[in-house]
C-alpha cells in the first residue's frame, strides 16, 4: 500500500508540470492586454507601460515562460498583476472558506442524497420513490442563484435568523452550504438509485436472497457495498469540482472563495493568479483521484491496487 501511495504521488509531478505549461500558453493566448485592463479606462500609454514593466510583461514570451516555470518549481507563485499581493496570500485567504464550505455542503448532500437514493431503490416504484425523484428533479432544476436569493430573502431579511452572507461563524455556513448541496444531493439521489436498481438485478443478489439472507443483509451487505463504487467515484468528482470554487454560491452569498477569485482574475487577465489556481485545482483532483482509488479498496477488498 505504502509504495503504491508513493508511486502515485511521484506520478503527479509530471502531470502538474504539463498542466503548468499548458495553462501558461493558454492564458497568454487569450485576447486582451492585462496591463491595459489593470491600468483602467483613464490610463494613458505611459500609465499602461508602467504597469506592463512593473509586472515583467514587456519581456518576450519565452523569457516569461522560463521565469514562470522556474518560480513555480520553487513554489513561488508570483504576484497578482491587479493588487500586487503574493498569489500565495490571495489563495491562502480563500482556501479555508472554500474547503470548509465544500466539506459541509458535501457532508449533508452525500448523506441525504445517498440515503434518499437507497430508499428509492428499495421502495422502487412506490410513493416514496416517486416523491424522492420529484424532489431530486427539483433540486437539479432550481438555479442556484435563485434558490440562494430566495433563502436570503426568507431567512435573513424577513425572519432575521441568519446572516445574508459573508464568511464567519456557523450561522454563515447554513444557507450557502444548503444551496450548494442541493444540486449535489439531487444528483446523488438519482445516481445512487440507478446504481442500486442495476445491482439489485445482478445474479449474486438473487443468489443471496435464494440462500435465505435476510432482506436487510441483502440490501446493506451485498447491494449497497457494490453500488457504492460508482457513487464514490461521483462523490470524488463532485468534491473536486466544488473545491474549484462554487462561483454562483460564492457570488450570491459574498463568500470569499476560490471560484470568484478565478472568475475575477480571468476578467483582468491576471495571469499569475489564473495559472496558480488552475494548478491548484489540478493538484486537488489528482489527490482526490488517489483517495477514491484507496476507498475502492476499503469498500471492496477484492479490488487490488496495483
Amino acid at each position: 500500500m505504502l509504495d503504491y501511495l508513493i508511486r502515485r504521488l511521484f506520478g503527479t509531478v509530471p502531470v502538474l508540470l504539463a498542466v503548468a505549461a499548458f495553462v501558461f500558453l493558454f492564458v497568454h493566448l487569450l485576447p486582451g492586454d492585462p496591463a491595459r485592463l489593470v491600468a483602467g479606462p483613464d490610463a494613458t500609454p505611459q500609465d499602461i507601460a508602467a504597469v506592463r514593466a512593473d509586472m515583467g510583461l514587456d519581456q518576450p514570451l519565452i523569457v516569461q515562460f522560463v521565469r514562470y516555470l522556474g518560480q513555480t518549481v520553487q513554489l513561488n507563485l508570483g504576484r497578482s498583476i491587479k493588487t500586487h499581493q503574493t498569489v500565495a496570500e490571495l489563495i491562502g485567504e480563500r482556501f479555508m472558506p472554500t474547503l470548509l464550505l465544500t466539506v459541509f455542503a458535501m457532508l449533508w448532500s452525500v448523506i441525504v442524497g445517498v440515503g434518499v437514493g437507497v430508499l428509492s431503490g428499495v421502495k422502487r416504484g412506490r410513493w416514496q420513490d416517486q416523491l424522492a425523484m420529484v424532489l431530486a428533479i427539483s433540486g437539479i432544476s432550481f438555479p442556484g442563484f435563485w434558490l440562494g436569493l430566495l433563502l436570503i430573502d426568507l431567512f435573513s431579511v424577513r425572519l432575521g435568523w441568519l446572516p445574508t452572507g459573508g464568511y464567519g461563524g456557523w450561522q454563515n455556513f447554513v444557507l450557502p452550504a444548503f444551496t450548494l448541496g442541493t444540486a449535489v444531493a439531487a444528483v446523488m439521489a438519482r445516481f445512487t438509485r440507478s446504481a442500486f436498481v442495476e445491482i439489485t438485478a445482478e445474479d449474486y443478489v438473487r443468489t443471496a436472497r435464494a440462500k435465505g439472507v435476510p432482506e436487510r443483509g441483502v440490501v446493506w451487505k451485498h447491494t449497497l457495498r457494490n453500488a457504492l463504487i460508482p457513487v464514490i467515484t461521483l462523490t470524488g468528482l463532485q468534491f473536486g469540482f466544488l473545491l474549484g470554487g462554487a462561483i454562483v454560491v460564492e457570488t450570491v452569498f459574498a463568500w470569499p472563495g476560490l471560484g470568484r477569485l478565478l472568475v475575477d482574475s480571468v476578467s483582468y487577465r491576471d495571469y499569475p493568479v489564473i495559472q496558480a489556481e488552475i494548478l491548484l485545482f489540478s493538484f486537488e483532483f489528482v489527490l482526490i483521484n488517489l483517495l477514491v482509488d484507496l476507498l475502492y479498496a476499503v469498500v471492496n477488498p477484492e479490488i487490488r491496487l496495483r
Binding site: 505611459q46 493588487t83 485567504e93 457570488t251
Partner: protein, 510 residues
C-alpha cells in the same frame, strides 16, 4: 446612613450603565460591488478602492460630495496667470496615523513619488507635468509645471496626489498598499479577502470628528444580496442599486434612496473615418432616429437624463447646446439626402453586461425603424479593450459603432472632453473612439487647459462643446444617475457625481 450609601451606589451604577448604553459603538458597514485592489492612493484607478483610500488619506484640496473643490490639507493657494506655478499654504497641527508630522516635506515626497516614472504607479501620468516641487518652508509648497495646466488643482484633489506618510513608504516600500498611513479621519485596522476594516482616528485634526467609530467595507457582488444586507440591517449604505430595483426600495420606512445625476455620459461613438459615418448628415440622422426619453425609460427605468451637450451637465464649464429631438421622418430624409434612402447595415459593439446589452438592443430597434440594420456585438471586457486599443492608427480600427461611456475622473472639464474628442487622443493613446478630429474643437480644448482664468476657460470649452455638438461624431444618448440606498439612520453619506462613495467627516449614525 445606609440609605444614602445604597442610593449613591444605585445612582453611580445607573450613570455608568446609562453612559455605557448612550455610547454604544457607531459602526458603519458599506456594501460595495467589487473587491478592493489596494490602499496605496497613488496606485489606484477604481472607484471603490479610491473611496476607501479617501477615508484614510487626505489631499491638499478635496472634491466634496458635489465635486466642488474644497481646501483640505491646504488652506489656500495662488497660481500664476499662465497656470505654470502653484503655491499652496498648508494646514498646521496635523499628524499622520503613524505619528509623524504633516508638513511641506511630506507633500513634496508624495508628489515626487506619484510622478516618478520609475515607481510604475498607475496614475503617474496625472503628475507628469510637474517639473519640480519645492518645500519653501515647513508649511508652504510651490509646484512648478513644465507647461501650463489649468486643471492642476483638480489633479491635486485626485487620489493619486493624496498625501502619504513618507515614513510608511520608506518602511514598507511596495507593501505600503497593505499598511496605509495618512492623515484621514479613519485608520486602517485590517483587510482580508472581502472585508476592509477601519477605525476612528482619535487624533484627527478636525476636533470632534469623526462621529462614526468604525467603517467596514464588504464586497458583495450580487445586487440582490447587497440589497438584502441593507434590508436586514447588516449594512447602512450600499451601491450600486440597479435602476429597475429602485422602485421597490422607495417606499421603505427604514431606507432612503439616493438618485442624483452623475458625470457619466453615455454615447455611441461613430467611426467618422469610415463610410457611411464620414457624412455628417448620416450622423445627424442617427441622432434624430433614437428616442432618448424612451431609451431612459426602458434601459434605466427613468433614472437618467438626456444629454444636452458633449459634456454632462454637472461638469464645470458645461454649456447647454440643445437637443436632437426624436424625429424619424427627419432622420429618413437626411439619410436619403446622403445617398442612403434604403438605409444601410452596420455593427454596434459594446461590453457584454446587462445594461449595455439592453441599451444596444434598444438602439438597434430604433435604427431599424429608419432602415438602418444594426448587428449588436456584445464583447467581454478584455476582448473589447483589445479590439478598441490594439491599433496603431485609424486604418486598423475594427469598430464602427461603439456603445460606451465616459466620466471625468478628476471632475474637471478638461478630462471630460479631451480624452474623447481631441485629435491627439486617438487610440491607443486615449479614448477618442470616433476618430474625430476638428481644429476648432482642438483649439478650444487646448485653450481651456492653458489657463486658470475661469472666464477664459468657459469661453474655450463653450467653443469646443458647440463644435462637437454640431459635428455629432456620436449619438448623444444619456447622462447616468448615481443610484444607491442607505439606512435612514445614516447622515452625511453620498454618492459623488463621479460614482464614488463619499463620507463626510461630520457623518453620523443615529
Amino acid at each position: 446612613m445606609r440609605h444614602t450609601v445604597s442610593r449613591t451606589l444605585l445612582a453611580v451604577a445607573l450613570t455608568l450603565g446609562l453612559s455605557g448604553a448612550a455610547r454604544a459603538a457607531k459602526d458603519l458597514v458599506v456594501g460595495i460591488p467589487v473587491n478592493l485592489t489596494g490602499l496605496d492612493p497613488a496606485d489606484l484607478n477604481d472607484n471603490a478602492s479610491q473611496s476607501a483610500a479617501r477615508l484614510m488619506f487626505e489631499g491638499l484640496y478635496n472634491l466634496d460630495e458635489h465635486m466642488q473643490l474644497q481646501p483640505q490639507l491646504a488652506e489656500s493657494y495662488e497660481a500664476t496667470e499662465d497656470a505654470k506655478e502653484f503655491t499652496f499654504h498648508l494646514r498646521k497641527g496635523v499628524t499622520f496615523h503613524d505619528g509623524t508630522p504633516f508638513n511641506a516635506a511630506a507633500v513634496k515626497f508624495s508628489f515626487d513619488r506619484a510622478g516618478n516614472p520609475e515607481n510604475h504607479l498607475k496614475r503617474q501620468s496625472l503628475y507628469v507635468m510637474i517639473d519640480h516641487t519645492d518645500a519653501v518652508d515647513d508649511y508652504t509648497v510651490r509646484v512648478v509645471l513644465k507647461y501650463p495646466f489649468g486643471a492642476f488643482v483638480n489633479d491635486i484633489a485626485h487620489p493619486g496626489a493624496l498625501i502619504v506618510s513618507p515614513k510608511s513608504v520608506q518602511q514598507y516600500g511596495k507593501e505600503v498598499t497593505r499598511h496605509p498611513s495618512g492623515t484621514g479621519p479613519y485608520e486602517f485596522v485590517s483587510w482580508t479577502a472581502d472585508t476592509l476594516r477601519m477605525k476612528k482616528n482619535e487624533h484627527y485634526w478636525r476636533s470632534g470628528q469623526p462621529n462614526v467609530d468604525t467603517v467596514t467595507y464588504r464586497s458583495v457582488p450580487e445586487n440582490g444580496a447587497r440589497i438584502a444586507m441593507l434590508q436586514a440591517g447588516e449594512a447602512q449604505f450600499i451601491y450600486p442599486v440597479p435602476p429597475e430595483l429602485i422602485a421597490s426600495l422607495q417606499n421603505s420606512p427604514t431606507i432612503t434612496v439616493f438618485d442624483e445625476p452623475s458625470i457619466l455620459g453615455r454615447y455611441v461613438a461613430l467611426n467618422v473615418m469610415r463610410k457611411p459615418f464620414d457624412d455628417p448628415r448620416v450622423r445627424l440622422a442617427l441622432n434624430y432616429a433614437v428616442d432618448k426619453q424612451a431609451f431612459i425609460k426602458v434601459v434605466f427605468s427613468g433614472h437618467a437624463d438626456t444629454m444636452d451637450s458633449p459634456m454632462p451637465q454637472l461638469l464645470p464649464f458645461h454649456q447647454k447646446q440643445g437637443s436632437y429631438s426624436y424625429d424619424p421622418a427627419k432622420a429618413k430624409a437626411l439619410l436619403a439626402e446622403a445617398g442612403y434612402p434604403n438605409g444601410f447595415e452596420s455593427t454596434l459593439t459594446g461590453i457584454s453586461d446587462t445594461l449595455a446589452q439592453r441599451g444596444m438592443q434598444f438602439i438597434q430597434q430604433q435604427l431599424a425603424a429608419v432602415g438602418v440594420k444594426v448587428n449588436v456585438e456584445p464583447l467581454e471586457a478584455g476582448v473589447l479593450t483589445a479590439k478598441q486599443f490594439n491599433v496603431t492608427g485609424p486604418q486598423d480600427a475594427t469598430i464602427v459603432m461603439n456603445f460606451g461611456a465616459w466620466s471625468s475622473s478628476t471632475g474637471d472639464a478638461d478630462w471630460g472632453i479631451r480624452p474623447i474628442a481631441y485629435t491627439k487622443s486617438f487610440p491607443p493613446v486615449l479614448a477618442n473612439l470616433a476618430w474625430y478630429s476638428n481644429p476648432v474643437t482642438d483649439a478650444g480644448i487646448e485653450a481651456g487647459l492653458a489657463t486658470v482664468d475661469p472666464d477664459k476657460r468657459a469661453a474655450a470649452y463653450a467653443q469646443a462643446q458647440a463644435q462637437v455638438w454640431r459635428d455629432a461624431p456620436w449619438i448623444f444618448v444619456d447622462v447616468d444617475h448615481s443610484l444607491a440606498a442607505y439606512s435612514k439612520k445614516l447622515h452625511g453619506a453620498f454618492m459623488r457625481p463621479d460614482l464614488q462613495f463619499y463620507l463626510r467627516t461630520d457623518a453620523s449614525l443615529d
